[in-house]
Symmetry: C2
Amino acid sequence: MTAFSHLMAFQRETEALGLISERLGWDRETVMPRGAAGQRAEEVAALEGVLHARRTDPRIADWLAGAQAPDAAGARALDLIAHQYRRASAVPADLAAELARATSLAQGIWAEARAADDVARFLPTLARIVALRREEGAALAAAGLGADAYDALLDGYEPGATAASLGAMFDRMRPRLVALREAVLGAPAPRALTGHFPAAGQMDLARRAAAAFGYDWNRGRIDLAVHPFSSGSGSDVRITTRVAEDDPFNCLYSTIHEVGHAAYEQGIAPLHAFTPLGRGVSMGVHESQSRIFENQLGRSAAFTGWVFGQMQQVFGDPGLPDAAAFHAAVNRVHAGYIRTEADEVQYNLHIMLRFDLERALIGGTLAVTDLEAAWNARFLADFGFAVDRPANGMLQDVHWSVGLFGYFPTYSLGNLYAGCLHQALRAALPDLDAHLAAGDASPATDWLRDHVQRPGGLYRPVELITRACGFAPTEAPLLDYLETKFRALYRL
Amino acid sequence: MTAFSHLMAFQRETEALGLISERLGWDRETVMPRGAAGQRAEEVAALEGVLHARRTDPRIADWLAGAQAPDAAGARALDLIAHQYRRASAVPADLAAELARATSLAQGIWAEARAADDVARFLPTLARIVALRREEGAALAAAGLGADAYDALLDGYEPGATAASLGAMFDRMRPRLVALREAVLGAPAPRALTGHFPAAGQMDLARRAAAAFGYDWNRGRIDLAVHPFSSGSGSDVRITTRVAEDDPFNCLYSTIHEVGHAAYEQGIAPLHAFTPLGRGVSMGVHESQSRIFENQLGRSAAFTGWVFGQMQQVFGDPGLPDAAAFHAAVNRVHAGYIRTEADEVQYNLHIMLRFDLERALIGGTLAVTDLEAAWNARFLADFGFAVDRPANGMLQDVHWSVGLFGYFPTYSLGNLYAGCLHQALRAALPDLDAHLAAGDASPATDWLRDHVQRPGGLYRPVELITRACGFAPTEAPLLDYLETKFRALYRL
């Protein structure tokens, strides 16, 4: 065996073990007995120990030094393994273990603090997580994996992205989004959907929508979870959703969003399975697949027309006069505190707030004790009204409690990529709306599979989007789309 | 750290990884998407590779050589680890890998052959499995783990048992069981339960029965599976059942059986978790817990009286006049081919047949090509009528296809132990029937937890049963119980 084949065989097992770890996460959030949490933590710790040992195995360096890639895919696989190895090896084992311990405890403390609206209960924990992640980022930056600690953390989610480039992107987006938001909120609001929508009917509708987007049930399943997610890859990609009986859009669009993530993992070419190319290439590209399903396609007039008919079948009269009113209700913009409930117009403004604050936290220019005041001041400035309580402010997201610094901006990058892909996809599929109106998104799913999903990790994120679209990604297509859509909906 | 603490820390992770492997097995049989089988096989192979490397890690020998046990539990843990290490190390890696490969393929071939009633399709595969297991048994015997290949395989399921002692046990049991079977089948048969029993009602009844036996839902759950099983340990012990709408006893008694296995794993003292003492001590003892729940308690007049009332609530009139007729229907003895459908009287006769044939296969005195004829001749001699087709004969069980030679006799050992434990338990709990009649088996569950389950692997199987009962296990209590019960039921 050559060094290359040794390395790929070793990596193959590591990828398989990583999928097992992900499957355990699914189990915990969906079917695990309540009393099993402590035992499961020990099981996961054992598996993570095995994975960490493999990811930092010194033989990887030897194999990398001697490996000759047989082709471009092999060369890219070597690059990705080298990148993972550099990241895993740059962090001292003690620090990695302490981070794992601290973040596993922090989520529960955050949940308690949020439930009690008690910032003080969370601050010592958050301070510890920030300090540990700053230390980790500094270690990664010292190993050349980013210009500074924040960039080095960002590199773990979106290789190639930098805070400087993202900051410039946000600076270009903000004025147009703020102007659109103000115009929309100044106009008469459309009627909202109200009523009681039984859970069984919502799950029925969710299954119909998943099928409309080409979700492969032979390689997946749907379950309930508190926070919807998608997990797995290849031939075992499971989605979850949630049901609020007064808000059927929550279940429906959570499902379509997760089907977008799942379609990506189901759509990667099987030859990449169990290689470093076998997963979505970055968080931003992943989010582009969920967002384009959820928003550009799922909230389009054509598709919501089909949904309107389905809802009439499932629930009877949904209490709105026609498909146009239903489309307006789906896309209703309203002032709110919560990122995950935000509409397309305001979503990225929520991200910009978090991006600036987390950069300052990791950069050391904002103390954790000053975070609540900074959040509230920024929210008032950006959204025009004051945060009423911490659960609607700095305690609303789980991310920081589990150490996810550098993750939030990938959501906006996903929206930006989705805007670009949507422009290219519409140009390639001029009759797409006729299919969407019939409840068939498969032409779009097929286009995305061919242009984005099949290559898996073969191309770097920006290169992948550029190849798919025929142009380098910018924010312009997203902003044009939003302005066109919402000016029409709100008759501006 | 001492050698002992090093070893126990290492073993702790191995036990945790073993539980993950078991959880993946549950997932495959209950919730896994159909299309995921190939991918899952690769994931499991990677995990089994990790486990095999850990179980044969040469550091174990060094730690064992230097370890000082702090107490009796520690000494027993060292014995169990040493035993596992000797077994894992005695089998050449090539042979272990070939066995894993061959048995993973063989189950599908067996299922096809059974469906097609085609012995010839299965024989080459069976011959290969027999040869590999014989080779494995010989390697284990050469390492001192059994007097011969069969004993060495048996040692993997029931440490301390030998074919000679089991054969003598069966020789003592056979005449009394045959005499009882002939007397019962010569008497008028009680009415059977007939009708249609919807699946939802059966699952409701299954949950009521599981609760009656004290199954802890906070540390478990129930799902459907083709072949019911229990899996996991400690705070995550899941059961499965199946539903045949014309036979509610199938679901009910499969559930109670699996609750018995689950109660054992839920009942082990938490301090033994993630140690070699943290699981049921042998297959025979495990089966004793499922059998005493299912048979001695679950099929008793007192408990079936409660079940009769529950079935009236769930299904309406079950078509039998009273609880006595219902008790007789539950315990109806009938001539049949299938072990898993056998009643208490005939079950062990099915095991004796398999025990003798598999000893001859592994011992080399019976060729695989002669197995069908040998099975059919033996069945005719033991049961008095001829096998009509291979699916009702030598193709009925999955066990041999997956290499389980030496496993069948542990079922009878479980029945024997259950008989002993039942005698002791009844002596200790004179008013148990009053509780069972009210749908509360918890006094029995509590007694079994205290006397059998809590110690986990602390005592050797025979020692454990002897301590629990106050006498050394023999077949007499089981045979006395069966004769008393069935002579009364059949008015002999």
